[in-house]
Every structure is written in structure tokens, then in C-alpha cells.
Amino acid sequence: MLFFDPVLSVDSTISCGSCHNKLFAYSDRGSSLSTGINQQIGIRNSPPIFNVLWNKSFMWDGGVNHLEFMPLAPIENELEMGEKIKHVIAKLNRIPEYRNQFKQAYGIDSITDKYFLFAMAQFLGSLISANSAYDSVQLGLKPFSVTEQSGYDLYKQKCATCHAEPLFTDYSFRNNGLANTSDSGRMRITLLPEDRNKFKVPSLRNLDYSFPYMHDGRFKTLPEVLDHYSENIISSPTLDPELKPMYFSETEKEQLLAFLKTLNDPGFAGRLNP
């Protein structure tokens, strides 16, 4: 399987799966910034991968505009896999199993970059997470507990404008008031000053597996995230106009945490006992 095959990296040490591990909802195994070839540390936190067919763009800054283009960025990034797509295709063509698989799937005798990208996009698109406790509640299969329900109500007041149901993101780029963000975010792509420090709103599904949090993985735990929204929102010219410190009580924090837990999909992350 291409996604788990280190042949995609220049020295055959790193696969997509190195930074996107199933047990962590296809995010990195708990590190803030991920490690690529030659133990090099990247610039951003490796996000979980699920429900990407809905994404309007990819990456924290939206620099990738199509799922089929997604694999190019890590493959050609010198800190990540350090390869050239042309060379990757040449290597794959020397592996009979892959040639056979591509022949069966697409009827082609030799693998080309286009079909390689199609195949990767199919795999990424197949990573679907829609089996959380929240989903069961929505299906009417079971109710929220009282605490979860209070958390859900709070979420709808305080978080849903950006982390919109049912995917728990609206895919917009926003500044949620993190302190000391050296990464210019969306502005790196658009060059517009009004996009400084804006990042793509991430989903809130599977948070228990995709720690740490934010584009640079600065928060190790969800209570730290809630402390941020509660008290530590930093004002700046591009701060989202809707966002002000939320001053949660301890009870409210517990309610929110209980609700966020209902968004975990243990089956998706391979965490169900067989």
C-alpha cells in the first residue's frame, strides 16, 4: 500500500504513515512538529486525515487546492520526504506488484504521475469517520448524558460558528487568538496582510487521538485548549471579530470536554478491541 510505503521518500525511511498514523486518526503519534527524513523537524503539526472529500483546500494554510495534488507537497518537501515526483514514479515502475496493481485498477502498462495521484486520492478519500457517539445520538440510537448535552449546548453557542456541524469545521481561515504566532498562515499563500496568522479551522472529531493541538501543536491537552478560549485569546488586527475570551467556569469546561469526547470514533482509529 503506497501510503505506508517508505519508497516514496528519498532514502526509503519515511512513509506517509510515519506522520499520519491510523491509531492517531492518521495524525502524528503525539509530536508537535513531525519528523521527516534525516530526523529533520518540520514547521507544522501533522493534522489527522479524515473526511477530506469535503475539504475545500488542504494544509493549515490552504496551499493545496485539490486532493489529487496533496501527496506532492510532502513528497517534494525537503524536510519531509525530500523526493521528486518523477523519481518516485520511476522507482514505483521498478516494483512489479505496483505495476500489476495499477494495471488492474487503471489498465495502464506503466505507472504515470497522474494515476499515482489518482490512487493516492482514492485512498485518502476512503478515510471516513462518521461513527462517533455524537453520530449515534444524531441517529437517535442513544441520548447524550446530561453533562454531554450541556456541553453540546455550550458548543453550539461558542464554537459552532467556526467548527460547524456535522464535520465540525467550516473550512474557513481564521485567527483564533493564539499568542506569538510566527507562522504567517494563510498569508503565506495569498500574500494579503488581512490573512496574517489565519489558519484553516480544524475538525473537532477524533481529538483524543490527534493531540497535540493547533498548527504548531502548542497545546498538549484539551484543558489547555479550553483555557486558551476561556482566558488567553490575544487581540490582534486579524483576530476573528466574533472571538472574545469566553470565561468558562470549571463546570462548563467539564461539560465541553464531555461533549468533545463524544466526537471520538474509536473504530476509525483502530481502537476497538477485536
Partner: protein, 258 residues
């Protein structure tokens, strides 16, 4: 209910994405409808490169002096996209080349000439094409031919085609070499340039067993026409932005029929 809806939408989405993936091929291989009994032939679109006002011959790995800035430089690479070639028929409608994406590469004489095939025989009074890749094809996923990402003319971290690469060496830049990758397909940093040339004075006649040629003259010295000396530019520019947009536009706008 939501989950059922969710998976329903998902299934639909997968189908759309995959059918679109397949549709890509058709789009690319679908020529403009021409009736099957028309005889077709070809013409050539040749790009000649000249240097500065004097229009001296331009070649890679040759020392050139920019008359306006005084910079000396040697180009090691000059590559750019030409796309969406169309010619105007006598009835005023346009014939469009199918899958019309080409890379002009000065390092290879064969790659400075485009053979446009399957053109219905007849007389044509104008030609138009684009420098660069139209915005739609910058956002439609994996493609092949000249648009294959293996051509090295695509930005992986900030998606979009590199419309033009100009690389070389110069004593005027720190480090001794320059590399300008020019691109951008939207907003203020859009370098895609539509060209149209009238052929009224010498119409293009496409006919079997003939090899008519249209020659466009392009002048790489124009890259520095507005931005000026390399001493005031970064030696390496590998993303869309005001400087490279200006450079690209100056070069593309100045191209004329020979």
C-alpha cells in the same frame, strides 16, 4: 438522521470525485467538434527568442548584457507554458486545439516549436493563445502531458503551475546564480496573458502536405524592463508575487509576430 445523511453525501461525493477523475481524460482528449469528413492538416507555431532592442540572437549559456540595467548574465534555463491555441476561420468562429497545453523550452530546439495538428483545412485570419495555464487547469487535480507534475512546473506547497522558469548565473546577484519562477493565476498576481494576432496581411492556409508556420518573437530581456537590475531583486523567487508578476507580464506582453 445526520449520520445517514452524512454517509449518503459521502458516497455521492466519492462518486463525483472519481467520475471527475475519469472525466479529466475525456476533457483532455475531446477535440472541438469537427465534422468527420473534413480533411485536417497541421501548422507550426514557432517561438523565436531574441535579446533586447538590438534583437541579437538569444541562447542559453551565452553571456548577455542587459542594455538598460548593465547587468551581465547567462541563462541556463528558459521554459514557459503556451496554452489554448485557437485560429479564426473565415466565418468568424474559432477553431480550438484539443488539450492545448505546451511547454516551450529554449534548451531544446524541438521544444520551441509547437505542431498544431488536426486543424481543418482552410484559411485563417487570426491566432490567439495564452502564455501560462488558464486558471481552471490550476485547480482541477492531476493531469498528464505538458500539465504532468513531473515536468517540474508545479508548486506543490502553494498549488498552481509555474508559468515560466528563468534561471542562470550573473555576477550581479549574491551567490552568483538567479532563479525566477513566475506564476500565479488569480487576483493581483495573475500572470496568465492572452495574446491575439491578426493574420489578415498574410493569412494562414492550412492544407495537406504543407507546413505553414507562424513565428512569434519573444524577448527575455523584457523580464527586467520594469523591475530593473538584478542587484535589487532577490536571487531566488519561487512563488507568485508582485515582482515576478511584473516580470512575466513584461515578457509575455512584448511578444510579437515575426
Amino acid at each position: 438522521m445526520k449520520t445517514i445523511k452524512l454517509s449518503g453525501i459521502l458516497a455521492l461525493f466519492i462518486m463525483i470525485v472519481f467520475t471527475q477523475s475519469c472525466k479529466n481524460d475525456d476533457d483532455n482528449s475531446n477535440p472541438t467538434p469537427t465534422s468527420t469528413d473534413t480533411t485536417t492538416a497541421h501548422f507550426h507555431l514557432q517561438f523565436n527568442h531574441v535579446w533586447a532592442m538590438a534583437e541579437s540572437p538569444f541562447a542559453l549559456n551565452t553571456e548577455l548584457i542587459h542594455p538598460m540595467t548593465g547587468d551581465t548574465m547567462k541563462f541556463t534555463m528558459l521554459r514557459y507554458y503556451v496554452s489554448n491555441i485557437q485560429v479564426k476561420k473565415t466565418d468568424g468562429t474559432w477553431w480550438s486545439e484539443a488539450n492545448s497545453y505546451h511547454i516551450i523550452d529554449v534548451s531544446d530546439a524541438e521544444q520551441t516549436e509547437i505542431e498544431v495538428d488536426d486543424v481543418p483545412e482552410g484559411t485563417y485570419s487570426a491566432i490567439r493563445f495564452m502564455f501560462g495555464v488558464d486558471s481552471a487547469h490550476n485547480v482541477s487535480g492531476a493531469q498528464d502531458g505538458a500539465l504532468s507534475v513531473s515536468e517540474g512546473m508545479f508548486w506543490s506547497w502553494n498549488n498552481g503551475y509555474i508559468m515560466m522558469k528563468a534561471e542562470g548565473t550573473s555576477n550581479q546577484v549574491s551567490g552568483g546564480s538567479f532563479s525566477y519562477h513566475i506564476g500565479g493565476f488569480s487576483g493581483t498576481n495573475n500572470v496568465v496573458t492572452q495574446k491575439e494576432f491578426s493574420l489578415e496581411s498574410s493569412p494562414l492556409t492550412v492544407k495537406e502536405n504543407t507546413h505553414p508556420e507562424i513565428v512569434v518573437k519573444a524577448n527575455p530581456a523584457r523580464l527586467f524592463h520594469t523591475v530593473g537590475s538584478m542587484t535589487s531583486l532577490s536571487a531566488t523567487i519561487h512563488m507568485p508575487g508582485a515582482t515576478t508578476t511584473q516580470m512575466g507580464k513584461d515578457f509575455f506582453d512584448a511578444a510579437v509576430l515575426e
